[in-house]
């Protein structure tokens, strides 16, 4: 392998590593904040996850979650953090498209665009 290429690969991977770490830590902080509010308000009430009801609409999609989070509801803020978490690998894939394009690796740009499209479809095409 040419030294130039492996250097670029390693650099891309380092940027990706930092991106993943930042995304995960940010989402963990948001979930922690939401969790604190949730436990302060509901910590002493009994749990019931044994019966499946499904989540209400305001905890299912982007609009509802953002609305709920801005009303400072614990569950809404947690859900916003989880959305950030789901977005992290999607952002990683988006950045890889850019990275492979910089390396002029057309084949891997195509591969990455395919993966990115599947991810966008699952997030927005299945609602």
């Amino acid at each position: 392998m040419l030294p130039g290429r492996s250097w670029t690969d390693q650099r891309i991977e380092n940027v990706l590593g930092n991106l993943l770490r930042a995304g995960v830590l940010l989402s963990a902080l948001v979930v922690l904040l939401g969790g604190a509010i949730y436990l302060l308000r509901h910590g002493l009430s009994p749990v019931d996850f044994g019966v499946f009801r499904g989540e209400p609409p305001d905890l299912r999609d982007l609009r509802g979650i953002i609305h709920s989070a801005f009303q400072l509801r614990g569950r809404g803020i947690i859900q916003l953090g989880l959305l950030l978490l789901i977005a992290t690998p999607v952002a990683r894939v988006a950045f890889s498209i850019f990275g492979f394009a910089k390396e002029r690796d057309g084949m891997y740009v195509v591969f990455t665009v395919i993966v990115f499209s599947v991810l966008l479809y699952s997030l927005f095409g299945t609602a």
Binding site: R21, V24, L82, V93, V118
Partner: protein
């Protein structure tokens, strides 16, 4: 049990699952769903949603540490993610159509396979195998830092590995697991990729695979914030700790212990699925 007690207990169990999952390369997700549904009596659909989201945290959190070590291969990861994300979409759509009994039974079988393959001796990726023409065209061959300097490897059996990865993605979407065992199986056993490269690349891929079905689960209302919060934070803390220890850990005994736990959970899941309790 109050919500506070429940959250603290689930947090502790998830932390251990994330730690052991990262150290063995098998992922914590494979034990999360049985733990939540058998021990904490959580409905399996909520358990799967929580596990799936946490799997993203495990993967992304640990990958951040791995990429610095230079083990993972970004091209192998991206090429195989085409298979895993398509499989994950299929699996997530199947999950809405089959009964919870069926999911529990499939889960039990997958757990048994995970335990079996974690006991199988690793293929000592033979050094100096001739490069495979397809792998070369796809630029999958690479190198990594080993004890005796930088070691290069040639990837084999690309179509078989890709097909296994599609299956791994489908199971991930159906069961809410990372399918780490099957991903490592595809790379380590079928494609003859060195073990450390397989486990770290697999960890890297799991987040993207899980994200492909997480959207479907969120839209369907399977992701409960009150449950996911302690699971996700626990698994993340455990996996970050595990990634720090990975380089020096002797995983042999850990893998043995972990596979015994997996067998026990498998029997429980099969029993509960077949008797209609889940």
């Amino acid at each position: 049990m109050t919500t506070l007690e429940f959250s603290l207990l689930v947090y502790g169990c998830s932390l251990i699952a994330g730690l052991v999952g990262a150290l063995t390369g098998l992922g914590g997700g494979v034990v999360l769903v049985p733990l939540l549904s058998l021990l904490f009596k959580v409905d399996i659909r909520y358990a799967i949603g929580a596990s799936l989201v946490s799997v993203i945290a495990t993967s992304s959190g640990a990958a951040a540490a791995y990429v610095k070590e230079g083990f993972s291969n970004i091209r192998i990861g991206m090429f195989l993610e085409i298979a895993t994300t398509l499989g994950a979409l299929l699996g997530a759509n199947l999950a809405a159509r089959v009964s919870t009994h069926a999911i529990a039974i499939v889960f039990g079988v997958v757990l048994l396979f995970s335990a079996y393959f974690s006991r199988k001796p690793r293929s000592q990726a033979e050094r100096g195998v001739p490069p495979d023409p397809l792998a070369t065209r796809l630029r999958l061959n690479g190198s990594f830092p080993d004890v005796d300097g930088v070691r290069s490897y040639n990837v084999q059996h690309v179509p078989a590995g890709w097909t296994l990865m599609f299956g791994a993605g489908a199971l991930s979407g159906l069961l809410g697991i990372g399918s780490g065992a099957m991903k490592v199986l595809a790379m380590d056993q079928a494609m003859k990729i060195p073990f450390k490269v397989s486990t770290t690349t697999s960890n890297f891929m799991i987040g993207v695979t899980a994200a492909a079905s997480a959207g479907v689960y969120l839209n369907r209302g399977y992701v409960d914030p009150g449950l996911v919060m302690p699971v996700m934070l626990g698994v993340l803390a455990g996996s970050l700790l595990g990634a720090r220890l990975l380089i020096k850990a002797h995983t042999k005994w850990l893998r043995l212990g972990f596979s015994l736990v997996i067998v026990l959970l498998a029997i429980e899941m099969l029993y509960n699925g077949l008797s209609g309790r889940i």
